[in-house]
Symmetry: C2
Subunit: 123 residues, 2 copies
């Protein structure tokens, strides 16, 4: 018996919905136990689900997310998305490109976020 | 004396212009000697500039390229772009997301192209 291939586009949708929920534990639950997270690319990676949950604990304000473009190749994907965060009177918008790998169960095994400070706009 | 950081967005522009030229040697010249190329992600990587030039030797028809979005983090980048190829009466369009790493001289040290056959349209 072979395992059905996970639906990677659905997994990306679940990830963006979890980020928009603002609940770090929900986001971390989508990662494999021993996953790594490098955000932004070039920074020291966070390793393991506890460290990953702590990273998403930084989510604050009212968050919305929107998938703009996704490209899937097997169990890897690259996708462009928009994150809008409202905090008080300020609204911050950023559109990173994330690269993720997944395991056969559809859990995220690594995430690398491509963006630079100049890609963020405030209004 | 420290080396000035290479202009990665300019390097991406040079790459897309070289692809549009259709000349494999021009594209391969932008890669480091020992670079790797994985296109699409999940396929066997091509290693070294000679193998990379052979890969781009498959370019045919009248090609145009357009950068849609680029995200740069240090010496790594992810970018969404459009390639339109006219061959005879057919026009093929694909918009991959490429992930590249560069060396201090601005040469491409690795390229991974995220796309799937269903991302290509023909008209």
């Amino acid at each position: 018996m072979t395992m059905a291939a996970p639906d990677i586009k659905a997994a990306i949708g679940q990830y963006l919905a979890a980020v928009a929920s603002g609940e770090a534990s929900k986001v971390a639950a989508l990662y494999a136990d021993d996953a790594t997270l490098e955000d932004p690319v070039g920074s020291e990676p966070h390793r393991g689900r506890a460290a990953i949950e702590a990273f998403y604990g930084g989510l604050q304000g009212e968050i919305s997310t929107e998938l703009l473009t996704a490209r899937v190749a097997g169990l890897e994907a690259a996708f462009l998305f928009r994150v809008v965060t409202k905090a008080g009177d300020a609204t911050y918008t950023i559109e990173p490109i994330d690269v993720m790998t997944f395991n056969d169960a559809g859990q995220i095994t690594s995430m690398r976020a491509f963006w630079a400070p100049e890609d963020m706009t405030a209004a």
